[in-house]
């Protein structure tokens, strides 16, 4: 099995190398056969990588403990879903997943572009296969998942209990889909630079990939947050941990790109900027993988120190220097077609949004690598606390949210006073009306940022609702269809635009959830024996019962806690503590009761022999809206990215039409 796995990886390495040579050589005249050969080689790489990953899965499911990886991360008593997820429990396995996804996306990109972008494709193939060569080489020679043990142990060491959680099965692959999908826009951008075909063809080719990557990155981050919330037992979901930041940074830059790309499509501006953003997203994605895998920064999630650091650093340096060098070489061809005419214009708002997003990215990057830098410069390892990130994220987040409302409504080129008055009077009035309501109904008075967030949120929602209302009314008047029919038509005909609005709504909901759950937490600890009760905030917690159980895989203690508020039973929670027998490790299983207004989050810290339970309670307001927002954003993104079935009758601009035809 080890032999088979290693062989597929080596063959994939060779095939990827062959694809590079063929793709680059095919650029001469009349070398159609070479090009086809390169494309077939991409499919072959995908086939071989698939064989490799299936071999690994077969080994994990079949308890092939002669493989070091299988022995380290599974055991005979581990359930099969966890055995499958053990593939991304550690470094070599997750790199294998990375490489396989890359081969799959490369094959998909080749397939989707088989009839177009003929000039761009060869170099794009070469770039993608170059990345594949890097990863397969690492997998073959530095960090192999198919390393064997001299003697196969009778049982493995089991999967880390923290990873035996449904969200952990989903989180890494979803995040990786996002990371790896960023390679496609990067490859096409480099190809456009190398071939000098710098019109908007490459942008059209990659736009949907970028939305896909952005969507999955965001979803992956949220699933990870949800995992942290359920599994780590500290009542929170985000701690500005280096590894969280590593996923957050490419997402921020991808967000910036998705906005600035519209400026390039409509106005032919920001061409250099867009190139740099694409290069930056991919570099940050590789940097994120590097940060997680190399152990340079101490983190909850870091996978321990490894030997991969120098390889990844060299690869990142190559990517950055090579692609930025190309940008510099092509600068004369990347000139803007227009200049900024007014600061009251959509392009100005998008530019500001980009500056804020990229500024935020650099702040996060700065905080993340600060310990490394300070150690290099001053010889002392100094980290920055969470306060640093919060202080920066709050003002930038508020400004961005405000722009979320302004951007879609303000006209291109130059807005007149009359236009501004017509479009923004109602939203501003709504926000002004919301302010006193918020102050009366919520404790926002003590938290100016939260109050401001509420007002801006109302403003944005009013702006977006206005857009939907105007569009639907026009369509209703035109087509004589029903109101809901008109709304559906409106969205279906302008997927990107209205999908974007839905995403914006989701962002409002997300920020409200974050603000509520970070600013108004009530927490307390209780030591109770059966029948006793204690109070946290205005709620009473009663320990009704305790349980102990044991099976082949784990020992478990539990508590049944009833929550009363104003004399009425509000919820019954059953937090547990598991003790995994193979790994000799405890694991906290928190109990959460969710409602729209608050989460009751109860942790069983311990249950001693006399039956005294130590319980920790968090009341987290509004936290459920974060997950709801995730669903809204995903839905909006899916609407925006979904291929249209047919070409719309009256496309607004040429690239837009090309984008539709692509489907």
């Amino acid at each position: 099995m080890a032999l088979l796995g290693r062989a597929t990886l080596l063959l994939a390495l060779v095939a990827a190398g062959y694809a590079i040579v063929m793709a680059l050589a095919s650029r001469g005249r009349g070398r159609r056969a070479w090009r086809e050969s390169a494309e077939r080689a991409v499919y072959v790489v995908f086939g071989l990588m698939s064989a490799g990953i299936l071999t690994m899965w077969a080994a994990l499911l079949g308890d092939a403990f002669e493989l070091k990886y299988v022995a380290d991360y599974t055991s005979t008593t581990l359930g099969w879903p966890w055995k499958i997820s053990a593939l991304w429990a550690s470094q070599p396995g997750s790199l294998l997943l990375w490489a396989w996804l890359l081969s799959a996306f490369s094959a998909a990109a080749v397939r989707l572009n088989r009839d177009r972008n003929r000039e761009l494709l060869p170099v794009a193939i070469a770039v993608l296969m170059g990345i594949a060569v890097f990863f397969t080489a690492i997998l073959s020679f530095v960090s192999s998942p198919f390393e064997t043990l001299a003697e196969a142990p009778a049982n493995g060491q089991d999967l880390n209990p923290l990873l035996q959680n449904g969200y952990m099965v989903l989180h890494p692959p979803v995040l990786y889909v996002g990371y790896v999908a960023l390679a496609i826009p990067f490859a096409f951008a480099v190809s456009a630079l190398a071939t000098g075909r710098l019109d908007s063809t490459w942008i059209v080719a990659v736009r949907r990939w970028m939305i896909l990557a952005w969507l999955f990155l965001g979803l992956g981050i949220l699933i990870g947050a949800r995992w942290a919330y359920e599994e780590l037992g500290w009542g929170g979901y985000w701690a500005w941990d280096p590894v969280e930041n590593a996923a957050f940074m490419p997402w921020l830059v991808a967000t910036a790109f998705l906005h600035s790309v519209m400026v390039q499509e409509r106005r032919g501006m920001l061409k250099v900027w867009n190139m740099v953003l694409v290069i930056l997203t991919f570099t940050l994605a590789v940097f994120g993988t590097f940060l997680t895998r190399s152990g340079v920064v101490a983190s909850v999630h870091a996978f321990g120190e490894s030997t991969l650091g120098p390889f990844f650093l060299a690869f990142i340096a190559l990517v950055l220097v090579g692609s930025l060098g190309l940008v510099v070489a092509r600068l004369p061809q990347l000139r803007s077609l227009h200049t900024l005419e007014s600061y009251l214009s959509r392009e100005a708002v998008f530019l500001l949004n980009n500056v804020l997003l990229v500024g935020m990215t650099f702040a996060v990057l700065w905080g993340t690598v600060y310990p490394i830098l300070s150690e290099a410069v001053r010889g002392e390892k100094i980290a920055v606390g969470q306060g640093f990130y919060d202080q920066i994220a709050v003002p930038i987040g508020l400004a961005l949210l405000f722009l979320t409302g302004v951007g879609p409504l303000i006209p291109w080129r130059k807005a007149s006073r009359a236009q501004l008055r017509r479009r923004f009077t109602w939203p501003l009035a709504a926000a002004a009306a919301a302010a006193p309501v918020l102050l009366v109904l919520t404790p926002a008075w003590d938290h100016w940022a939260v109050g401001l967030l509420g007002c801006i949120g109302v403003f944005v929602v009013a702006c977006i609702a206005g857009e939907f209302w105007r569009g639907t009314r026009v369509r209703h008047a035109l087509g004589g269809t029903s109101w809901p029919g008109a709304l559906v038509q409106l969205v279906a005909r302008n997927r990107r635009r209205y999908g974007g609005y839905i995403v914006h709504l989701g962002v409002v909901v997300l920020l409200i959830g974050i603000a509520g759950s970070r600013s108004f937490v009530t927490e307390g600890s209780l030591l109770l024996t059966k029948g006793e009760s204690g109070a946290v905030g205005d709620r009473t917690f009663v320990l009704e019962d305790t349980t102990r159980s044991r099976d082949a895989h784990l020992m478990s203690v539990g508590a049944r806690v009833a929550v009363f508020r104003d004399g009425e039973r509000e919820a019954t929670l059953e937090p547990r503590r598991n003790f995994y027998l193979v790994s000799q490790q405890p694991s906290t299983e928190v109990a959460i009761d969710t409602s729209p207004t608050r989460d009751l989050y109860v942790v069983l810290a311990s249950l001693d022999e006399r039956g005294a339970a130590s319980i920790f309670v968090f009341v987290n307001p509004l936290v459920a809206w974060i997950w709801v927002a995730g669903i809204i954003i995903f839905a909006g993104g899916a609407v925006a990215a979904w291929p249209a079935r047919r070409t719309a009758p009256a496309p607004r601009t040429a690239p837009e039409a090309a984008g539709r035809a692509q489907a």
């Binding site: 070091k68 990886y69 022995a71 380290d72 991360y73 550690s90 470094q91 060491q157 880390n160 923290l162 780590l232 037992g233 500290w234 009542g235 929170g236 101490a298 983190s299 909850v300 870091a302 996978f303 321990g304 200049t339 900024l340 005419e341 600061y343 500001l352 500056v355 500024g359 702040a363 700065w366 905080g367 600060y370 310990p371 002392e380 390892k381 100094i382 980290a383 920055v384 606390g385 969470q386 306060g387 640093f388 202080q391 920066i392 003002p395 600890s525 030591l527 790994s583 000799q584 490790q585 405890p586 694991s587 906290t588 942790v603 810290a605 311990s606 001693d608 130590s614 319980i615 920790f616």
Partner: protein, 138 residues
């Protein structure tokens, strides 16, 4: 040309503002990595070391009690330096004697007063795949 000047001014303003924001935020939030021997009163530290033998096995219960969880942290690979830590909040499941941890806080009267929920355990045995069995729960 005028618009170009204004553009540059706007960008400079934005960068300046961001820089100022970054600088002030950074100043108040620096946390120095330190081993037990390097602590001194005053600053905020991220104490990095291994949990000394004798750490309570009911750590997570104690960390919720009013007295807090008390344990000693030894220098990594240098057990001659050590410091007593008082910690409250959630304790990672992997906490036990011999584990490498990072905990954030300040030194007060010779005792390291940790910030709530700031403990992170680093987990070499599981992630690094050295093949060692988990150590005895002391």
């Amino acid at each position: 040309m005028k618009s170009r000047v204004r553009f540059v001014v706007a960008i400079c303003l934005a960068v300046g503002l961001a820089g100022w924001l970054g600088f002030t935020s950074l100043k108040g939030n620096q946390e120095r990595y330190a081993s037990p021997g390097q602590l001194s009163a005053g600053g905020t530290y991220r104490l990095n070391g291994t949990v000394a033998p004798g750490a309570p096995s009911d750590a997570s219960a104690r960390a919720q009690s009013p007295d807090g969880l008390r344990f000693r942290v030894l220098g990594k690979g240098d057990s001659s330096q050590s410091v007593e830590v008082v910690y409250r909040g959630s304790v990672p499941d992997t906490f036990r004697a011999g584990r490498e941890i990072v905990v954030t806080g300040r030194l007060e009267d010779g005792v390291f007063q940790a910030r709530r929920n700031s403990m992170v355990t680093l987990c070499p045995s599981k992630f690094q795949a050295k093949g060692d069995r988990p150590d005895d729960p002391a």
